[in-house]
């Protein structure tokens, strides 16, 4: 298992969830596309996030995994904070 690829795939997936969340509120067509995947936009996002996590991990397998660096961990934690805040600020502004 490639730990760097795994951590980066997690960061990509979480960033995508934030982009898809905001994007689906701004674009009715995108929301409809997500709905068409699982019958509800949230199910569409859930399915796509799981698929993206696996696919991005597989696509990053060539990344060198010689030594796990805390820089990757910090990147993931930073992505979680930025993505979470972006979703919060967006819905506060929409309310």
């Amino acid at each position: 298992m490639n730990s760097k690829a795994l951590i980066r795939a997690a960061a990509i997936t979480i960033a995508w969830v934030a982009v898809a969340t905001i994007g689906s509120e701004l674009s009715a067509a995108f929301k409809q596309l997500l709905t068409s995947i699982g019958g509800h936009h949230w199910i569409g996002k859930s399915i796509l996030s799981a698929v993206l996590f696996v696919l991005s991990y597989l696509s990053l397998l060539k990344v060198s995994d010689d030594k796990l660096s805390l820089r990757d961990t910090t990147l993931l934690i930073g992505t979680v904070m930025v993505a979470g805040l972006a979703i919060l600020i967006f819905y506060v502004m929409q309310a």
Partner: protein, 157 residues
């Protein structure tokens, strides 16, 4: 009466979060025995959060949208849905990804965590993040339950 799906969602989610707190505690000062226990806790925690995802998702799609959301939006605190629930349902999607990453790293590094400081810190930080983020989300769940209770008391259902 509490919906069995929301009861299941809350119970398995809370159990999953405490499993990741358990992981954090075990890897702070690891031994081979503690790492073995942390691996078990991480697998249990991941399974619980996946179950919470399915149970909560089923409740959200089948029950919340039809019964709870209209009542909250008709009440005196519609922001409970338009902000708190919207944020909760989407930030929740971070948890299975973070839990799976933490469990996979723990299984990969195993007893190397005794000597690999970066790997140990990574597992500890991610397990702590799962726990903290999960409890923020649980707090949001309590706010949503309060908003629904208030709507019921106001006769909006």
């Amino acid at each position: 009466m509490i919906d069995p799906l929301i009861f299941l969602h809350v119970m398995v989610a809370e159990f999953g979060l405490f499993a990741f707190l358990w992981v954090l505690v075990e890897v702070l000062n690891p031994t081979e025995t503690r790492i073995r226990r942390a691996r078990i806790a991480a697998v249990i925690g991941l399974a619980c959060l996946l179950a919470a995802w399915i149970a909560g998702g089923f409740y959200y799609v089948e029950v919340y949208g039809a019964q709870v959301k209209p009542a909250i939006k008709a009440g005196d605190a519609p922001w409970v849905h338009s902000v708190v629930m919207e944020v909760k349902e989407h930030v929740f999607l971070f948890l299975p990804v973070l839990a799976a990453t933490t469990a996979a790293l723990l299984l990969k590094f195993n007893n190397d965590l005794l000597h690999n400081r970066e790997a140990r810190l990574t597992v500890a930080m991610l397990a702590g993040l799962v726990f903290l983020l999960g409890f923020v989300i649980a707090g949001m769940g309590a706010v949503i339950a309060g908003g629904y209770r208030s709507a019921i008391e106001a006769g909006l259902t």
